[in-house]
Symmetry: none
Subunit: 153 residues, 2 copies
DNA sequence: CCGCGTTGCTTGACATACTTATCGCCGGTG
DNA sequence: CACCGGCGATAAGTATGTCAAGCAACGCGG
């Protein structure tokens, strides 16, 4: 039930828009989760744009209509699961939702010192010889790998 | 409970690798233990890369070391708040973490086609062929490795 | 007027994210 | 040796996300 099939009722969206306008969020004055309100508003707008009711979207996302309602009004911060389901149901990319929420757009880093070399046979050896890994990265990756094989035997 | 061998060394890393994962999600099941392991492994690798202890990172992220430990071992799914804090502390972009967790990149609307990373196939092949790794571990390790060579250039 | 079906929203119970306190282990110092 | 301080991992407790059920308002047909 993740795949969007749309074509729900094709009633009239004017109603939905109207209702939303009337109920609009109290917003003004509350300086606390602006981001949540933005996210919720965005989701609500997109949902109405897709002409979905809360219950329809609930069915599509496997999330209860009740919780969707709360999320749309900025009363709760949805988890990644839910966020992803919503994005899927609305045929948006998760990144769009996250950007709306203001949660993406941070730093980036990455020093590199690649060097030409040739491969190996064992995984450990391959990691050690990998030219694209910095010494630190090698150590880290090796640590993860060894943690795996250590538990395995 | 499980094979408790502890791990204390400052520059030694081991542990993880657990297949006992029971997730009772009502409505729809999930196969995300793999993604959680990948995310956790990635975070741990990055933390070790930055030469941070769990407690140091806890101070940096305002998240308890205990919870960080569990996240790194794939026992819990961190919320956006926490994820963002971690990304910030490790000087990564939140997108990288999300991509690592597999939560972005496969939407119904977009063309889901991540590059197959043409080029140094040596290490990747070695990981894929390693008989000592379980499929889940393979996926996690591959994720970490690719995050290194891909996001860092 | 009535019921019937729809909409969005609120409440109370449960599962999960997260914290504070503690454990076992190791390295250094007296 | 005992003691201290750091490390990662665990146990029990608190906060928060999430669900199932029920409510008030609107529109439609009798």
């Amino acid at each position: 039930m993740m795949t969007a099939m749309s074509a729900a009722g094709a009633d009239d969206a004017d109603h939905a828009a109207d209702e939303a306008a009337r109920r609009s969020v109290p917003g003004a004055g509350g300086a606390w989760s602006t981001q949540l309100n933005a996210l919720g508003g965005f989701i609500r707008a997109q949902r109405q744009l897709a002409q979905l009711s809360l219950r329809e979207m609930a069915a599509l996302t496997s999330v209860s209509n009740a919780y969707l309602s709360q999320v749309e009004r900025g009363l709760h911060q949805p988890s990644l699961k839910v966020l992803h389901s919503i994005a899927d149901a609305l045929q948006l990319s998760t990144e769009q939702l996250l950007a709306q929420a203001g949660w993406v757009g941070a730093t980036a880093a990455g020093p590199a010192a690649p060097e030409p070399a040739a491969g190996g046979v064992d995984t450990e050896a391959a990691i050690r010889n990998d030219p694209r890994l910095t010494p630190e990265q090698r150590a880290a990756l090796l640590g993860v790998y060894r943690s795996f094989v250590d538990g395995d035997g």
